[in-house]
Amino acid sequence: MNEPAGGHPHEHGGYDVDPTHHHPPQPDLEDTPLARHQVMQMAVTSLLIEKGIFSGDDMRAQVERMDGLNPGLGARLVARAWTDHGFRQRLLADSKDAAAELGIDTGPIPILVMENTPETHNLVVCTLCSCYPKFLLGVPPDWYKSRNYRSRAVREPRKVLAEFGTELAPDVAIRVHDSTADMRYMILPIRPTGSEGMGEEELAGLVTRDSLVGVAVPRAG
């Protein structure tokens, strides 16, 4: 099975098929036929709408829904877990039920929460594609989908972490989770020193996306 052949010029010429579109800044992809796939998306979408498979409103609603998913959701769960021991236990045991307590939906795919400890640091990768806990973190960043991350995270995690500015003590064990099938993963980081006395909202502000994937650790101050 092959992509329909034939190059397509990068520019659109004098017309603009989608006034909202702009090319994402991906310098390494400058010469790829990006425009062709945009046209394909528009054509396929309009045909499917005509055939009654879904409506334009369904499409808009789904895009909006996805725009509402971001690492702030995962951060709220972590902040609650840092301040409420019972919640922490429930989150580790069953993230779906625990998240529901905060009105957060973890979606149709089970998300396992892995807890960092002084002895063990957790890191998530998907070496086969780019599986990611979208319902708690939104869409994955480009680096998570990159060949370099997917190739190296399982083999030299310490070097990869160092590239993110994360240096672990040599006696800390690294547990890499290769997200290959029907589970997704979120990391529960260690609450940073200096965060004593902070409220839940302020704590959530310390929890970055990268710390929920395990390439970074939260810092206070």
Binding site: V154, E156, P157, I174, R175, V176, D178, A181
Partner: protein, 102 residues
């Protein structure tokens, strides 16, 4: 209809089949033939090797999380001996380790 019980309990040592089929599979190449330990049973899920080709009656398979010592996956591994990689693997890719009691 009841399903057979999972074949491997958490803590059991298992070997990943050293198979290299051409189609869509979710067992990473780097763990084929390697020995790990069942970390947990995730449940039953429809077989992706069938779903990928449009089979809507795909069979349910037991999915495990299997932990491998990183040093056993990579001969030149430079990190801690306690480092590990945990991978989701379906039951039909796993076999008992010979010499171990069942």
């Amino acid at each position: 209809m009841s399903s057979p019980a999972p074949r491997f309990a958490p803590g059991t040592r298992v070997r990943v089949h050293e198979r290299f089929p051409p189609g869509h599979v979710r067992t990473p190449w780097y763990c084929r033939g390697k020995i790990g330990e069942v970390e947990r049973i995730c449940g039953r899920f429809r077989n992706p090797e069938q779903l990928a080709y449009g089979n809507r009656e795909a069979t349910q398979e037991v999915l495990y999380r299997v932990g491998f010592a990183s040093a056993s996956l990579w001969p030149d591994y430079g990190g801690s001996e306690h480092d590990c990689v945990e991978i989701e693997i379906y039951e039909h890719w796993l076999e008992p380790v010979s010499g171990d009691t069942a």
